[in-house]
Symmetry: none
Subunit: 208 residues, 4 copies
């Protein structure tokens, strides 16, 4: 991903220049690469527009021109990872949810930079009004996409037609968020089947 900019740190490299009155894709790539690298090296705390600009050998205004907020930039970094987004149909709701929670959420965040990026975006959204909007929009879009899992279950007849898909997916996503933000992604991955089980069938042995 960032392999196409091997000499970024070389200050003697011939600078990118304007390519006329239009967006220079090389600059955008370099900036995203730099953002990624900065996040990897310095973590969330070390992430700043200044640092990205330095690293990308770009001017700050160039970044601000195309990304209004740090958040927008982070989300773009995040999205570069999120290309294989189709949820595989495992044939059952339980399987789909286990895969969704274990692979698509926790597994995706675990280890890689993605978890860090997403944590940063969420954190930013608490501080900045604009960031919150961006995050909410992204979240809504992903939710709308993810309820397909429940829709598939409906068409299979596993759940009634009036099942509240958002609530179920919401519970799963909530669990993932919670563990991500507490830095407990790894521990959470072991519990995935039990979590899905509780959501689907309730507390085992509950007599209410």
């Amino acid at each position: 991903m960032s392999t196409d900019s091997p000499n970024r740190q070389d200050p003697e490299e011939t600078a990118r220049r304007s390519i006329g009155a239009r967006r220079n894709p090389a600059s955008q790539e370099a900036i995203l690469d730099a953002a990624e690298a900065v996040l990897e090296e310095g973590g969330i705390a070390g992430f700043s527009i200044e640092a990205v600009a330095r690293r990308a050998r770009a001017g700050k205004p160039t970044i601000y021109r195309w990304w209004p907020h740090r958040t927008a930039l982070m989300l773009d970094v995040y999205k570069r990872f999120k290309n294989a987004k189709a949820f595989p149909d495992t044939g059952s709701l339980r399987g789909d949810l286990v895969s969704f929670l274990g692979d698509h959420l926790l597994g995706f965040w675990h280890g890689s930079l993605c978890g860090t990026v997403y944590r940063a975006v969420v954190a930013e959204a608490q501080t900045d009004q604009e960031a919150a909007k961006v995050l909410n929009a992204y979240h809504d879009e992903r939710m709308a996409h993810s309820v397909q899992i429940v829709d598939r279950a409906k068409s299979r007849g596993e759940v009634p037609q009036d099942t509240d898909g958002e609530l179920i997916i919401g519970l799963v996503v909530s669990y993932a968020w919670h563990k991500l933000l507490l830095g407990q992604v790894e521990e959470a991955m072991e519990k995935v089947p039990r979590v899905v089980e509780v959501i689907l069938k309730g507390v085992p042995g509950y007599r209410g």
Copy 2:
């Protein structure tokens, strides 16, 4: 809570002084009051040690002396609200969970400053390693306290003795966090009974 310091903004008020080689409670109160006020007026974005110091008419070093991080200060502000912490025994696990989620978590965060403070703490923990430790410690302590709800249900015979209380409480807390961090506390409050229902009894009509 902060009503006992009515003249804080009066610059002519006789300044607080040292009361010897020990912590001055008046200063600590004033700082917490100021932190609260700053959060109320400026939100998370406007919260800074400088602003708190100015407002409290205190020196920055006095703040840093007693609170190593912004997070520690925020958590102390948060804790001042959290005095009535006993969970009322409603007589049933369902009732207890509804009360816990609806009153103790969402209800507590809703409207008041608490939600803002907690959001800020969570956000800070994403950025700062030390803050994360502080938040995790607090979270663990609250979790340990909250599983009492499930323990009570066990003694009532509502759930088996080997029920994983942490998982159940964890799901409830996760849901609350998620909604808090998305700024959807109010919307979430309506769904409380249905959320509890799903956690206790699973997806209605699920045939797995």
Copy 3:
């Protein structure tokens, strides 16, 4: 000198902005003006980068960008006064030295801000290693310039060719420094002719 910035204290004045990727002369002028004003009002003790920045409506980093030390800034203030630096040729070594000591050193320092600035620079150089270097460099440069007085005397035939100009000028400068740093510039001015006389002809009536 600072008369061209009459409204500096008006906070409603439109702020200076960047004029591109190069030093903004207006800012530099404003900072020097402010430094001068701060020194005038608060004396050496009141002189701080913070105060200058406040007064100049400039950011501290802008000052630190261009002047690494307080000393460098003070020396620049000092130099703004030192434009008419030619020593008038009075036709005799005695006359030149009297003029040098009385007009160029003591007279220049007397009353005006210059004495204060120079005292500050010297004081700073005692504390700060970097400041000492800056002061020494300036001092060497001035000394090299001032020995011209003796050189002229040599070409006039007043003194032998092997006369140690530095020693003579050094004695004169030493006397001025001493009186400046003791706050006795005014008293010293009366003694100028006698001091020069002793340096040139020795202690009157000495039989050694």
Copy 4:
């Protein structure tokens, strides 16, 4: 001098206590020792009341009680060195002045801590009004003492009775100050005889 407090850095040493309603000489000694040590280790820049108090294991008020200014403290440190203050009578004014400048001033300042202390005092006097008074008083007292050199020369018949002793001594002291404050004490020591020669007999070969 400071050898009588060998365990100063041992924190387990039993602390000094009050010895009743009077000054504790042990504390005063410890503070002067500490001041000396701090100056030796950190130079002028590292000298602060805090540092001295820490080092002396004394309370800041104890220092402020007995020395109103940093300057007063420094001067006391300085004076501890200045016990052998008698000027040896070398039998001639030239010899006395060479000894005074070379041994009593430059030689005394050279290498040892004294030069540092005196530089600090002079620097402080530029900033602080009170310090200036203290320094002036000390300077006047030393001057009054030093003119004895010229008085002796008068009684020897080397110079006329109306010779301005202060001016001559002043020139010598000025030269020493100048070199001290420029950090050129060592270089200056070589020039001592020539400086005295010029002061006594004027510029060699001058025909005015």
